[in-house]
Assembly symmetry: C2
Amino acid sequence: MDVQAFDAYLLAHRERLLEDFKDFLRQPSVAATGQGIAEMAALVARRLTALGAKVQIVPTEGDAPPVVWAELGEGDKELLIYNHYDVQPPEPLELWESPPFEPTIRDGRIYARGASDDKGELVTRIHAIEAWLATQGKLPFKIKWLIEGEEEIGSPHLHAWVERHKAWLSKPDGRPIDGCLWEFGGFDEKGRFTLTMGVKGICYVELRVRGVSHDLHSSNAALAPNAAWRLVWALNTIKDADERILIEGFYDHVRELTPAEEAVLRAMPFEEEEIKAKWGIQAFVTGVSGFDAVKRLFFAPTATICGLSSGWQGTGVKTVLPAVASAKLDFRLVPNLTPEIVLDLLRKHLDRHGFADVEIHFLGGYRAEICDVDSPMVIAAERAAQRVYGQQPVKVLLSPGSGPMYSLSSFIGGVPVVAAGIAHPDSRAHSPNENAILQNYYDGMRYIGALIDEFARLS
Amino acid sequence: MDVQAFDAYLLAHRERLLEDFKDFLRQPSVAATGQGIAEMAALVARRLTALGAKVQIVPTEGDAPPVVWAELGEGDKELLIYNHYDVQPPEPLELWESPPFEPTIRDGRIYARGASDDKGELVTRIHAIEAWLATQGKLPFKIKWLIEGEEEIGSPHLHAWVERHKAWLSKPDGRPIDGCLWEFGGFDEKGRFTLTMGVKGICYVELRVRGVSHDLHSSNAALAPNAAWRLVWALNTIKDADERILIEGFYDHVRELTPAEEAVLRAMPFEEEEIKAKWGIQAFVTGVSGFDAVKRLFFAPTATICGLSSGWQGTGVKTVLPAVASAKLDFRLVPNLTPEIVLDLLRKHLDRHGFADVEIHFLGGYRAEICDVDSPMVIAAERAAQRVYGQQPVKVLLSPGSGPMYSLSSFIGGVPVVAAGIAHPDSRAHSPNENAILQNYYDGMRYIGALIDEFARLS
């Protein structure tokens, strides 16, 4: 690879490329409301077509945001890139220092909804490939690019889409694609570049209880069943005060760490006291610390109450006996413990404990995925980091967050994934004043160039 | 008593008195917001002065609504009347068929906020006394009238006010007042006139838990304490799924029914199946029925979750680990189990079970009160009912609801109380389209006349 020519191109075209970045950010594309989704899919398709890709806008289901599917280059070796063109809602608007869909540069950062998650990542990759094609000739392998429009609402149609288009998501002879570059990535609190090889799964449910037919005066409490109490008693059977999840059979689906996985976890920096200080607590739950805390954070399933709602929640007194009560619960999942298993075990558990009346409403889920931590994909990503950032990246076994990685890895034959990007700890994804550091974007394009080069060299 | 003259007066002045009733209803007097409170106190004071009473507007504390105190008539025998001039907030306004502070007559009912609770009762009594004075001469005993302005927010200053003015609330020689007519009363679902001699007490608290310093992404749940879980676990120690309150020492403060109280309870009609149908349930809690259900409703303490609040409560998914969680709890109390005892036992209970971090915020309370079920006050009220309604009234041992009855009964020497009024089951107190049946108001004035007459005759 002619690095000098590549870098010179980026410098020479910096202003135009930055304008292109801004065009992406000016177009709202809020999956939660549908705002600008169709326009954004068209914009992405036009841009990739201009890059020389064969592009299709492929429906998912009904009016749901389509997938933009692009193919560039030729070769037996194939790289899958996964991004998304949708963004989180920009609210609360009053907390933005500049309007969310008017990209604004201040102090070396570009501010806008999507500047980091995920338009910043998408644009970095598009611009790097443009520079490659302009300075290095054709791509050294085939790129398949899947850009979905529903990541911010839990990718509800992606898995079915992948299933329908499984042929595209493998090589012509049926072998799996050689590697996948994930949509996120970047730097940790200490400025260390990270590579992430997995995600926890998630099963998000709402539990709903109905007692009497309408809210009653609380003076009837001696005789009338109370939905809020039923909910409390049901929840209490799910996890005890020692943080042990009590759903029968739950832990049967938690496997041991492999030696390679454990090695990655042990090598990870973990600033325990800094995290506690940031959260304002003296101790982690159960008093766990050191490697036990790391193992727990990255490899223990969780059961979390995300919300509780019932009856009177305003200030002061209202003597009401609530007819309904609900809880939002998320279970973070490790490999083998799938959303389907959790739903089944939870239903059986509630029935067994006398809570057949507690309804379970499934609101979304992903399986966990941990990819090979030493795959050629990871090795290429490490070597590229050494070249561009001059440092050995921190390998993060998996993100404690979740995403549709299973659908684009194990489900399509075991494609090794790595997440490498341009985000930083103050990127404020999902929050007001989302931003990307411009230097990270410039370096990020050089990183993608190096990654293409390194991935091409590996067998 | 010259009943014919009394009735003729009411008929002759019907239109003017109805206008007077409307004047009371036109004046907003919302204790929760303070709207119109001062104006309403002044209006009540003017009206009672016009009746010939000696009236004072007496402060409670700071800017809080004052008490209107009036004295009429002379004599060793004394009757205390308790009413309140404040009303519930009118919201939700859109559900009113006519504006809440524009009294409107439709189908024999007068609609407005306060038409029943409690301006309807207050006006019925004022008009009856006016008719008495105009047709029967002076009152046969002394009336002391306490009209407070904070009943709808839990009478937070009434007890201290009574304590400060204890001399007014007994006879000149220190003996207790002979009887008290309570602010509410009326007819049950079957049109039976009721007399109520007591109220359950109440202790209303908010439990608050704080975990981490701010809401976190729920992917941190493996290490970060969750306020909502802490709240669930703490609540679960308070009452079990068999409806047994688990606070140590709680039931030590529940006395047995006296034979007279049990007799009243056994004589009360209790339409069990109709209540279940109205609430949309197959069975009462614990499967209780018959006299056990009656005893439970009127004589068992309760612990009720009135509200639960934490984290994300909107539609769909938000993967948040909430920093705070809260529950509104009301305990309905029987005699001897005071709000102070409950607060003390609850604090000790939570501490003992490892929940010293769960804050208890006391939002208000009343003691329970059960008055003599055969007092001269009750006998007079029964006889008046036989005269006016031609029926033996249903004696209700106590209201499962609450009110400041202790402060105006046991606390001032054991004044026997009876609640007798004009409300009906569709009065919609505290709800949109609050109303009173005009015939109940007309009959109610005749009832008050008969009650004055009967109370005068008893030693």
